[in-house]
């Protein structure tokens, strides 16, 4: 369970996020929607540990926040171009979680299977389409066993007709018990997958 309480963030004395509070229960999907400039991405970056908050509280399972429990699927995926699909997924589990190579490979194959990406283990990111890169990014994040998986605009870089595919995939991951937090400006998509929606608006200046 992810709890965010009275989160506040400013850049150069200009408030970006104010009084953001929500609770995301295990196994649920929450979407955060709003126009660009509303601080959605900043909120995700704070939850991912890439940005500091100015005040407020973030708890995971009622414990002090630990960025290691959050996985992130970036808007442009940020796969490592010098590593193939399998290496992208197994790098962190072997180096950080100290899993054996066999164990990490086995898990990676399972994840790729689940995401219908089998057979692409030895391909490099440049050989993949946007949708395929996204699946690899999801597998890479899941291999670190996060409590919560965050997505930054998962539909924005994809063909419109792939949106349904992403919906199906995200709902499929939900069935397996994954807790997901999704930043999007695509309202239709957000409504289709969300158990809970949070709307953020740009804060007026002054």
């Amino acid at each position: 369970m992810l709890e965010v309480k009275n989160l506040y963030k400013e850049f150069n004395n200009r408030p970006i996020l104010k009084d953001i509070s929500f609770t995301l229960k295990d196994g649920e999907i929450m979407t955060i929607v709003g126009p660009s400039g509303a601080g959605k991405t900043t909120l995700l970056r704070i939850i991912a540990g890439l940005e500091t908050k100015d005040s407020g509280e973030i708890l995971i399972d009622s414990q002090a926040y630990d960025s290691g429990k959050v996985g992130v699927v970036f808007q442009d995926y940020n796969l490592f171009p010098n590593l193939n699909v399998l290496q992208n997924i197994t790098l962190a589990p072997t180096m950080v979680l100290k899993e054996s190579k066999e164990e990490a490979n086995k898990k990676a194959y399972e994840l790729l299977n689940r995401l219908q990406m089998n057979g692409r283990e030895k391909q490099y990111p440049y050989e993949l389409s946007g949708g395929q890169k996204q699946r690899v990014a999801i597998a890479r994040a899941l291999a670190m066993k996060p409590r919560i998986l965050c997505y930054d605009e998962p539909t924005s870089a994809l063909d419109p007709n792939l949106r349904k595919e992403v919906e199906k995939m995200i709902l499929g991951l939900k069935k397996s018990g994954l807790t997901q937090l999704i930043i999007t400006h695509d309202l239709q998509f957000a409504e289709n997958v969300a158990d809970q929606m949070l709307k953020v608006q740009p804060l007026s200046e002054g």
Binding site: N78, L91, Y124, A141
Partner: protein, 215 residues
Amino acid sequence: MSLKYIGEILPALFNGATMTLSIFFWTIILATPLGILVSLGEMSKIKPIKWLVNFYVWIMRGTPLLLQLIFVFYGLPIIHIVFPRYQAALLAFVLNYAAYFAEIFRGGFQSIDKGQFEAAKVLRLNRWQTMTQIVIPQVIKIVLPSIGNEVINLVKDSSLVYVIGLGDLLRAGNVAMARDVTLIPLVLVGVIYLLLISICAFVLKKLEKYFSYYR
């Protein structure tokens, strides 16, 4: 042009070429890691380190290598810092080339997308793992063509050690020319440089090809 004469002077030229190659290899081996360190210094958030390193690069790139060589070997002894010839040459070359390498590596590091560092961070890779597994492999691919240019320059620049009296390839040719009053040694010296540089270019091309497995 007699083959017999060529046969007579070739050993001396090859002997000189080993000095040229020795300067060449040791400069690359020492200047590359130093260049990476200096480039990290250039990007350091600690201001004094940044200033110091920028000053060093400014001096090394802003003055002739020939002056630096003369300074180290003939100049420093005046203030009682004495290096033997070979060490003096190597010191000047390593310091000079590290500065050029540093600028190239800095460009390489800065062209790595910020997203790569962020992805590594959320995967909890530490700084060392991020650098060695993700950043440096990508930087090498990016800088390879520019480093290749410098490497080829280095083969030719190594002939500057002539001025401090080291017996390199050029000196061997010059000695033979003056002694025998013939152009042949200088032509041969040119041919040997061409050969060395062609080998370098070939190896660099192979390396670039190796790194083309991804984009």
